[in-house]
Point group: C2
Chain length 672, copies 2
């Protein structure tokens, strides 16, 4: 973010202000550890840094040591020896037990990290806790006057919630193995511990089935994971203390299944892979025994492939249209006294849950599965609201919160951070049923190219909410003060959020050169919530994700800084530094229209930005006039023009919104 | 480069000037095709773009089609269907024959590319020529008013030289498979066709030997390629029409061999892997039959692993010290009438060449192997000068030029481009002995992190020199006019030259924020030739490559633009645009000292930049005074200060040089 902040405002000003903030925060931790006490001095992490292993031998532990060495090499740019040493190591990793092949849902993740000027140690029950400790250690390494070092410190740390997940939707847009493994690396870096792999939906069935090969052969456009690749990913995740929970969403969200097996549906085929976004009619037929025989064999195959004790069966967004339209289904419902399609779905869920249980797994489902009378061991994942978790807990179900953690909806980090997984007023004794939460990356508008731009660093904020003690996660400005450094760290851990942003902006700019779109790019954010779908309902799976809206972060750091400067100016009209910063940014934004003007016909990617650029220029002009009025106390000359600019800025177009609009609105309101 | 250009000068100014240049050059081709004629209209490359294959089925051809789809997807940000279609394709790839498992040294690489508004076709003898054609096609795709498109065109193209290589030194610093494969991708994009894999040297033996396992076990620090990985790389390269020629440098440059097999040397061991850079004494003992028995078995193993008919045996930089110090060797030389160690090396080379020939391969060696009486089929690779290629040709040897193409010496692209592989005054009839050339990436100061910064885009300039007709590669400014767009294209083909530059600058800047080093970074370049070794002779294999000098490109595009503007100003003192551009850049550079001042003790990476920053500020001040003097015709007020600044700027320190020094010197000289 620093580079961009720098670009927009004056170099001298920003290098000083952003620089100092970064310096103070440079050892920023996220998630914050549960307990930390500072020691004296620091441990150098120079080219002689080595790791030793203690306790019973465990291949997972060896990988953890290697992961840390790799991460420190990448962060510091030093060539560090990869192999653990027998004695005299800088850092010793000690376990008391050997970890299982894959982590368990109630794994002991606690660790103790001690750093003195003479050496460091991380101790934990198994390699899983070591993985959490090395994530902390890597974040603690910073560059100072003596070079790379870790401050002396003692940390006793463990998670608040045992279930800290990230849902990766690989159905709507396929993500190759490299993207999945990189995501696992970054999850490890922020102590997330469950990869929820959303493998099948209307737009693609993404895992090889040897039992029903037409599932992936006809349902994936060739973009699927082989079972060997699945095993590789599970191993890769387990080495990093991360579980892999597969989801096969049913009975809705199954169009891709029906291309190969139309007989599973309640309406005759043929079916083709769904290319649109939304909720669709096709659904598995819950009235036929053959459906359950099919599912039994599929669940048998997939529960053998995925070792985690949890198995996600989806269950969301069934509109019941196929069932209502089918005389056979209607007759069945009548015969069985099912009053509506929700009741029919409940029956389906009950039977599928029984299949899952028979194969030795606990079922998880989205909110809607509570509609039936489910066995208590079914876990509810809430995508609608926190209240449904409370409702689930009252009914005896464990729950996982996702509703406020949808990363694809382009919320600011602070909005995710404000949401706590623990429902308010939950009766005492039920807290243990709240397992945690999951950040979600639904991929209607995510591609392998911009995935990291949407995930990072915001997923780290959700990770902290799920790991750190509740009272440590209440201060949103304090979180933001660490976020830039965390983003730096994630980039060195492999995240492409900045590199992709810059490369994609270069593509958008094309013949204009990136300077022509840079100032616009920093003033805007993608439309929030589902407003992109509303503005562009015709988007389909093949719609390119190469526009400005796809290239920019969900949250503009420059706009956030601008808002803070505006508030300082309004509070203290004589604050000349604030006025200078506000004016400097607005003057840059004022150039948006002029910069783009020569290129408005150059390419379609630029053509759609002419409108937003013009509106930004008007908005900046209004802001400049208002800032001067606020600072000088002289009345705003043309309030009507300012109001018009504000009104027009509400809808810039190109699926964008002006991130600076609230601050400019405050300025105009504050102007005398 | 555009982003950086933008940063240094005023946004409006540069966005316009760089932008227009980029627009004119946006379909920049490199290498230029041998013959090209423009048609009318253009072919759209939208989301419906498809490829069809014609001619005999060939897996290499299928990969070529997939490579093109991947590259176009990455470049345009569109989701393109990967599988070839049966009919109605946008582009048809037609071959008349099936390619061999690996390309041959005299492969037919010619292709014809025809583009009309209705469709495109590439025809070639085999998939090798198709690979060249798709590289051209991908470069031709640009974004215009109607979206992504290729202009209608007919191209008949073939290479000037059959041997267009890139030497990758993986011994001094190991490069993982991902780096090697990415390098192959980028070679394909600029039509390079030989990966010269420098696998063994004093600092590491990097390939698994099943016959002599201590070679890689004790000689590589664990950083080696398994034979399976080698086969994978050869296959990957062959799919892209690229040969893989291995080098096992001997009898010198073999310290890493001797760690496991000290008995091969002429002095008793034990040996350890060499950590320093330079020329060292250890060498294989040419006087013992056991040496040749060892080499026979090793060459047998390695010639079976590497299918290419050429096998590189090195032969460079043998200082003969071990031989001179060994009574046994001295006695042998006397007995055999060998007057010096060069004669002894010639004997060694003759015997090794015979071994290589017995295993069915042609030997290649560096200049020095000509010292003996070599069979004619030995190929000479010249690292010393072009003259030695002429000497080799006169002696009947084929030759490959590398001397002017060392990418690790940080020369500007134009200096590489000025060198032609064909020696001057070569007697007629010998031209066919000049096979081509190889760009070299020796890795004393290259790591996996900054590899692409050193290779790209400058390797593309060498590629053009080797591919395009001689009269097309004489115009250096015209080359530079295309280079920025080529660099854009290479980034979308996977090159990390920009992403790595930015990430590494962020690391250097650390707490200061990248703005504090940005203006300095654009004024400097790494020391050229071997001056880095001279300035820092203590650098070893583990010396971090994380400093500013490691992060910056070999050539500053901004400095080059500055030089052109300075020349315009000197030629036309009334050119106010030139004066503005010159002043704007110098004013930015003038801030270097102030920006860094608060951080001069912050980290060692920043501390070493305080001196260069102070000198840059003085240099910029001198430049500003001189520019004003030139523009106004008024005398330079303090010529002594200006001269002092110029003198001090000759050695900025931190292994840097001021790329802007020649232009500022011209300004001061031109000032009245």
């Amino acid at each position: 973010m620093r580079l961009k902040a720098l670009l927009v405002s004056g170099v001298t000003l920003m290098a000083a202000s952003v620089g100092s903030a970064a310096y103070a925060q440079q050892a920023a931790l996220m998630p914050l550890p549960a307990a930390m006490s500072a020691g004296t001095g620091q441990l150098l992490v120079d080219g002689g840094f080595t790791v030793a292993l203690a306790g019973p031998a465990d291949p997972h532990l060896t990988v953890a040591a290697h992961t840390l060495i790799q991460r420190l090499s990448a962060k510091t740019g030093q060539f560090l020896a990869g192999a653990p040493v027998a004695k005299g190591a800088t850092l010793t990793l000690t376990v008391t037990g050997v970890s299982a092949a894959v982590p368990a849902p109630q794994e002991d993740e606690a660790y103790t990290l001690t750093v003195t000027p003479k050496g460091a140690s991380i101790t934990a029950a198994t390699s899983v806790g070591i993985n959490r400790g090395i994530a902390t250690f890597a974040q603690l390494v910073t560059n100072g006057p003596q070079g790379w070092a870790v401050p002396a410190v003692t940390i006793h740390d463990q998670p608040r919630f045992p279930w800290r997940g990230l849902l990766l939707d690989v159905s709507r847009h396929f993500m190759p193995i490299a993207s999945v493994e990189r995501t696992i690396d970054l999850m490890q870096a922020v102590k997330l511990n469950v990869l929820h792999w959303h493998l099948a939906d209307n737009q693609g069935f993404r895992v090889e089935s040897k039992v029903f090969p037409k599932l992936h052969q006809l349902g994936s456009d060739g973009d699927f994971y082989t079972q060997d690749q699945v095993r590789q990913v599970i191993r890769y995740a387990a080495d990093r203390g991360i579980r892999v929970v597969p989801e096969f969403d049913m009975p809705g969200h199954t169009t891709a299944w029906l291309v190969g097996y139309p007989e599973l549906a309640s309406a005759p085929g043929p079916y083709t892979i769904e290319r649109h976004w939304g909720v669709f009619d096709p659904a598995l037929d819950p009235t036929r025994d053959s459906t359950y025989q099919f599912l039994d064999r599929l669940v048998s195959e997939m529960t053998a492939l995925f070792p985690d004790p949890y198995f996600h069966i989806g269950g969301d967004e069934v509109n019941g249209e196929q069932w209502k339209a089918s005389p056979a289904v209607q007759a069945y419902m009548k015969a069985h006294g099912l009053k509506d399609t929700a009741a029919l779905q409940a029956l389906f869920t009950t039977r599928v849950q029984a299949i899952v249980a028979r194969h030795g797994k606990h079922a998880i489902g989205w909110d809607e599965i509570m509609d039936g009378d489910m066995p208590k061991d079914v876990v509810v994942q809430s995508w609608r609201d926190t209240e449904s978790l409370k409702k689930a807990a009252l009914a005896g179900h464990a729950g996982i919160l996702s509703a406020p953690y949808y990363l694809d909806l382009s919320w600011p980090a602070g909005r995710h951070y404000a949401a706590d997984p623990m429902p308010e007023n939950l009766p005492a004794g039920l807290e243990g049923l709240i397992l945690g939460g999951e950040a979600c990356a639904w991929s209607e508008r995510l591609s392998p190219e911009n995935l990291d731009i949407r995930l990072w660093p915001r997923a780290a904020v959700v990770a902290e909410k799920l790991w750190s003690p509740k009272d440590m996660t209440a201060d949103i400005p304090a979180m933001y003060a660490r976020l830039d450094s965390v983003a730096d760290d994630l980039a060195f851990a492999g995240s492409r959020h900045r590199a992709a942003n810059e490369a994609m902006l270069a593509r958008v700019a094309g013949p204009a050169g990136v300077g022509a779109v840079w100032s616009l790019a920093q003033a805007v954010e993608p439309l929030k919530d589902y407003n992109r779908s509303t503005q562009r309902p015709d988007a389909v799976q093949s719609t390119p994700l190469n526009r400005l809206v796809d290239a920019i972060p969900a949250e503009s750091a420059v706009a956030r800084e601008f808002g803070l400067a505006v508030d300082r100016l309004i509070a203290q009209p004589g604050d000349t530094a604030a006025r200078t910063q506000v004016r400097s940014l607005l003057e840059r934004w004022q150039t948006a229209e002029t910069l783009l003007a020569p290129y408005r016909q150059a390419t379609p990617l630029l053509a759609e930005l002419a409108g937003p650029a013009a509106k930004l220029t008007r908005l900046a002009e209004a802001g400049l006039a208002a800032a001067d009025a606020v600072a000088t106390g002289k009345p705003l000359a043309d309030r009507a023009a300012a109001k018009k600019a504000l009104a027009e800025a509400v809808e810039p177009g190109a699926e964008l919104e002006f991130a600076i609009l609230p601050a400019v609105t405050r300025l105009v309101k504050a102007a005398p």
